[in-house]
């Protein structure tokens, strides 16, 4: 079987690349950049191989790799991909080269280390999406912190150290509790293997007391909610974004935030359905608050990057809402919205970074009337803004629409409140756009700013193309997510939850057939 090691290769290729980078002379910047770019592009191409041979109809993990890693406690080297993780990995591998290009020549110090960090980070993120063993998942989850920490802390702006520490401590606070949760789960089920645990819990062979389930849910949820970030836990985000270098912001917004929502989708819902249902109203409330709150705060930000950061809070609130509406449409919408947000917000940060390269500031008041000196950049900026505010035929709309549609089917009130975000996003984005690009040129020094360079055009037009494509032809994506997001809901079905009649799946949107055990469940069900 040719795909036997595909996932391993995808996961560790960037790591190998970074090792290779270390072999280069540290002042040989040209080659360092080239090598890094080549690696990341190769990575992207290889990751595309997943599409070939990916069975869209199957809800189960594919290209699985399962090897024993440690014996006591039994920890596996277990990779696998399904319709959810595949696209997130593709997003990662797609954004990384762009991030590399974006930081082509605005990194002054430690160029080699910078690219090394970026590649290590890529490995970490991909690992998070592939790992099917809770221990492995946690390892990648934590490892990925470090490069980000350095990216912000070393190559960031003025208050970078504060931001970096805040980022790490926030995340750790959550993830350490998740570790407790993972081990507790292990002591209950005797396994770290996600499919096995899933099977045990779902078949009722191992039961969770409601209280225990709630606590476990909390332990996992907190970690993910911080990462997302959900409303009251979001304050690390603006700082991190503002201080991070462009590439850092892009990856942070593009991928890292998705790890939170991914975690919710992959662990919280399937493993702790009852708790999820019980907490859903509260989570949804927070999500909605986040949507409105983020938008409103974004509206009044004087700093472009901060504005985008808060807009992320708003958008991801929507994603969380979609996830906790428990139906196929909204969940598919959420997954799709993760990708959209990755692309659009990534693009926004890239654009902000380009402005920064020219003027070394993010303050909106410093700009104004830029449409005159740089028509192309401004046109593309508008395009991205439109996609981010959910204009139909651009990617953003599809996700929002599906989420709201599905949520409306589940709870009309939630959807109605959430939909106000549609208005607000238009307000803050267009207002910011107007202040930056419209009107006469306010500051003289802005008059001579150069328009988008060749490199920048490559980046931006690529993104624009993707935005348009995902907006018009969403079917090829959603078709591959269908089975998996359906599967998430099926995994939420427990015998008792039937009798309780609290099946959160609205009739019609979710087939109610008992899911067969995943291939990997056979063999070693029920470790000691």
């Amino acid at each position: 079987m040719p795909n036997a090691y595909l996932l391993t290769v995808i996961t560790f290729l960037p790591l190998a690349g970074s090792a290779a980078l270390l072999l280069l002379r540290r002042d040989d910047h040209a080659w360092i950049r080239r090598l890094a770019l080549v690696v990341s592009l190769a990575e992207f191409v290889i990751s595309l191989l997943m599409l070939r041979g990916f069975d869209a109809a199957s809800p189960f993990y594919q290209f699985e790799e399962r090897r024993a890693w440690m014996l006591s406690p039994p920890i596996l080297y277990h990779l696998g991909v399904d319709g959810i993780s595949m696209f997130l990995v593709l997003l990662t591998t797609f954004l990384t080269p762009l991030a590399l290009l974006a930081s082509w020549n605005n990194i002054e110090k430690h160029v080699r280390e910078f690219f090394v960090m970026l590649l290590v980070l890529e490995t970490g993120m991909i690992g998070v999406f592939f790992a099917l063993d809770l221990f492995m998942f946690f390892v990648f989850w934590e490892v990925m912190l470090l490069p980000m920490y350095f990216l912000i802390g070393i190559w960031g702006h003025e208050r970078r150290i504060y931001a970096a520490l805040k980022f790490v401590l926030y995340t750790m606070a959550g993830s350490v509790l998740m570790l407790v949760g993972i081990l507790w789960l292990y002591n209950i089920t005797g396994s770290f293997d996600l499919p096995v645990i899933q099977g045990l819990l779902q078949s009722g062979r191992v039961g969770l007391a409601p209280r225990a389930e709630l606590l476990l849910f909390g332990a996992f949820f907190l970690a993910f909610a911080i990462k997302v970030p959900l409303f009251p836990l979001h304050t690390w985000l603006p700082d991190a974004h503002v201080e991070a270098p462009t590439a850092g912001s892009v990856i942070l917004a593009g991928v890292l935030l998705k790890m939170g929502t991914y975690g919710l989708l992959r662990f919280c819902l399937p493993l702790f359905p009852e708790a999820s249902r019980r907490m859903a109203p509260y989570v949804a409330t927070l999500a909605i608050i986040g949507i409105v709150y983020g938008a409103l705060v974004a509206m009044v930000q004087p700093d472009l990057k901060k504005l985008i950061a808060y807009s992320s809070v708003s958008h991801l609130g929507l994603v969380v809402l979609g996830i906790f509406a428990f139906n196929t449409i909204s969940i598919e919408g959420s997954i799709y919205q993760m990708l959209n947000h990755g692309v659009s917000t990534g693009a926004l940060f890239l654009l902000a970074g380009m402005l920064y390269d020219r003027r070394h500031t993010h303050l909106i008041s410093e700009f104004g009337g830029l449409a005159t000196p740089m028509p192309v950049l401004s046109a593309l900026f508008l395009f991205v803004c439109l996609s981010s505010l959910g204009l139909p035929m651009l990617n953003g709309f599809v996700g929002e629409f599906l989420i709201l549609l599905g949520t409306y089917g589940h709870n009309a009130r939630w959807a109605s409140f959430a939909a106000t975000g549609v208005i607000l996003s238009a307000i803050y984005l267009l207002w910011a756009y107007q202040r930056v690009f419209f009107g006469g040129v306010t500051a003289e020094r802005n008059r001579a700013l150069p328009d988008a360079s060749g490199r920048e055009r490559v980046i931006l037009f690529t993104l624009a193309a993707v935005i348009l494509w995902m907006g018009v032809g969403s079917a090829p994506f959603t078709r591959r997510m269908e089975a998996s997001s359906q599967h998430v809901l099926n995994q939420m079905l427990r015998p008792q939850s039937y009798n309780a009649g609290r099946s959160a799946v609205p009739a019609g949107t979710a087939a109610v057939e008992k899911p067969a055990a995943p291939a990997s469940l056979r063999g070693e069900a029920g470790n000691p």
Partner: protein, 655 residues
């Protein structure tokens, strides 16, 4: 059958034009831009005609003719496809959009000749055409919404065309955001439709809706809710109360834009949607009356503001709002075909008015204030006469298109089961005011003595490529009405019959007894009389006794200023919504909650930990005796724990 099978060609043509002009326009010669911009639209027009020809051959049972192309959004069992459809309603809209659109494009060549960003302008215009066509040809709500938002976008771009002017940029933003507020309702409407009917395709929705029982007047059932939600969107798009505020500001855009988007086509999208969803509305009486009332009120309200405005384009803007009110009124009383008919005629004469106004502005070198016009009749006769025609049409002079459409609406308002005397009165008074302010406009602009500096500006008639469109539109403004002239005027009401398959609504005309016809005659007479009255007052004010208006304004100061300032609605909204929002976001949410509350808490925890750390650190005083003391403390503590069973009784005795 080429076009029937390839409906997509029609929207695709302008899109192509937009793409070409947008990408390469800036390095092309101007002529190429014209060719692409106007050519694609013209082709679209031709294609539309061809389509209508083919469509007329279609057996009735194949109407509406739906063509699915590719599926756009699919999730679960939800599917929104890129499906286009054709039926009589679509045909009418197609004619208006492509026809008027094309004419206006031609006009723009002359009008925009000396503007910067020429290709950009045509790219935006074509983009608008594309979205508008998608809107009218869409076969399901999401796709309609695509067009809906798309035209909003293009209008945003075109209003903000002179983006160097802050007012223009603001106006564009305002238009988009206000529309968004309406769209918010529209989206919810779509969601509810899906939840109710399990589909968003027109055919299935209407089919199943038709079989649902009609909801009684008072009750707000599913259908009513849906209809009201959709109505919210329509109100936003068609600038009805209370979301009309964006349209007058939208006049910041170039005049052809005002003519095409803010008079002829886009703003009528709301009417189109209501008409398109008439099945839902007919089952929701309450929604119907909501439509009617809003329409009627808007018609009157906007007209009153129009009375005193001095900016020529703003007058026309408010008149547009008012006329849209008429259309809503028509739909509200169940006379959908009448509404569409008025849409049709209005497209011609209002476009004509705008273009003529544009011609005037062009002639005066950008002057828009009527107080600095006058006596232009001889200088720009073509413009004058065409404008006069349009004015007569809108005022409802017998024989002109406006007469028929408006008359039908008023009549329906009176007699239809949904109608009432009140609605009729609203419409009638609006008609009066309309006649007055339109003639006021004409008199102020073309009659009397010139009030502009004749040495500074030398007035010149517009070039031919601007005049030809005026003439063409003038012709339609007159003749457009005859195709719908009711029977009693010797006309054979083609229009009503043509749309009949779409609106199997109340056929009031056929079911009308003889005295009903008499009634219609009387009503028509009243309407005409009212219009004439308006004309006379205007004549009296501005020709006979030109100083009267000032005196009047002096005598009734308060109402005058109120009208002059458009009832202070903008200020009101600013006070109620905009400022509080900004304040809350900045002071409360950002500073207080975010930085003060949450971040404060986080940093507070950090500092508290530090402080604790300092405490613990100071246990290490460096003095060995203290350490020993701590050892003793620990020893006692632990021994107490270990000997607990031994000590408990002791403690008991102590108590």
């Amino acid at each position: 059958m080429l076009l029937l099978n390839h409906l997509w060609i029609i929207p695709a043509l302008p899109l192509l034009g937009a793409a070409l002009n947008g990408l390469f326009g800036w390095r092309w010669p101007k002529r190429a831009t014209d060719a692409v911009g106007v050519g694609t639209t013209g082709l679209a027009f031709a294609a539309a005609l061809e389509l209508i020809r083919e469509f007329s051959r279609l057996p009735a049972d194949q109407v509406p003719w739906v063509r699915p192309y590719f599926s756009w959004i699919t999730a679960g069992n939800f599917r929104a496809g890129f499906d286009l459809q054709v039926d009589q309603l679509t045909v009418v809209m197609l004619l208006v959009v492509t026809g008027v659109g094309w004419i206006i494009h031609i006009y723009s060549i002359g009008y925009m000749a000396h503007e910067g960003g020429y290709p950009r302008f045509f790219a935006y215009m074509n983009l608008f055409m594309f979205f508008m066509l998608v809107l009218v040809m869409a076969a399901n709500y999401p796709l309609l919404f695509v067009g809906w938002e798309g035209v909003g976008l293009s209008s945003y771009l075109l209003i903000g065309f002179y983006f160097l002017r802050k007012s223009a940029a603001d106006a564009g933003k305002k238009a988009f955001i206000v529309n968004r507020i309406g769209d918010f309702g529209f989206m919810l409407g779509i969601f509810l439709i899906y939840r109710t009917f399990g589909s968003v395709d027109f055919e299935r929705v209407f089919h199943s809706a038709a079989r649902m029982p009609s909801e009684s007047g008072g009750q707000i059932g599913l259908l009513t809710t849906i209809s009201l939600l959709l109505l919210a969107g329509a109100i936003g798009k068609s600038a009805q109360l209370p979301l009309y505020v964006w349209l007058p500001d939208a006049m910041e855009g170039p005049t052809p834009v005002s003519a095409l988007i803010h008079a002829a086509t886009m703003v009528t999208a709301g009417v189109y949607v209501v008409a398109r969803s008439h099945v839902l509305y007919l089952h929701a009486p309450m929604a119907m009356s909501a439509v009617a009332v809003i329409g009627g009120l808007t018609a009157l309200y906007a007209a009153t503001i129009g009375l005193v405005q001095t900016d020529i384009k703003r007058v026309l803007a408010y008149s547009t709002v008012s006329q849209l009110g008429y259309m809503f009124l028509a739909c509200g009383v169940g006379a959908f075909s009448a509404g569409i008919f008025h849409l049709f005629t209005h497209a011609f004469f209002k476009a004509l008015l705008f273009l003529a106004a544009g011609s005037v502005i062009h002639a005066l070198g950008g002057e828009q204030d009527m107080r600095r016009m006058g006596g232009l009749r001889q200088k720009i006769p073509w413009t004058y006469w065409t404008m006069l025609v349009a004015t007569l049409a809108i005022a409802g002079a017998p024989g002109f298109s406006g007469f028929f459409s408006k008359d039908t609406i008023l009549f329906q308002a009176r007699v239809s089961p949904y109608g009432s005397a009140l609605l009729w009165a609203l419409g009638l008074s609006a008609a009066l005011l309309t006649a007055f302010y339109m003639f006021r406009l004409v008199f102020l602009t073309f009659h009397g003595a010139p009030r502009y500096d004749e040495h500074a500006v030398h007035v010149h008639e517009s070039p031919r490529n601007m005049l030809v469109p005026l003439v063409v539109l003038a012709v339609f403004s007159v003749s457009g009405g005859w195709m719908a002239a009711p029977a009693l005027f010797g006309g054979a009401d083609h229009f009503e019959h043509y749309l009949a398959p779409v609106f199997e609504g109340p056929k009031t005309l056929e079911s009308l007894p003889v005295e009903g016809q008499g009634l219609e005659l009387q009503l028509a007479g009243v309407a005409v009389g009212v219009a004439a009255l308006g004309f006379l007052v205007a004549w009296w004010f501005y020709i006979r006794r030109p100083q009267t208006p000032e005196r009047l304004a002096e005598t009734v100061r308060a109402p005058y200023t109120l009208l002059l300032n458009k009832y202070y609605v903008d200020e009101l909204y600013d006070l109620i919504f905009v400022r509080p929002l900004g304040w809350v976001s900045t002071r409360l949410l950002w500073r207080a909650v975010d930085e003060g509350g949450i971040d404060g808490a986080v940093n507070g925890v950090a500092q508290t930990t530090q402080r604790f750390g300092d405490r613990v650190r100071h246990l290490n005083s460096g003095n060995t005796r203290s350490y020993a003391a701590w050892v003793v403390v620990g020893a006692v503590l632990f021994i107490a724990i270990f000997l607990w069973p031994l000590l408990r009784p002791l403690i008991g005795t102590v108590r």
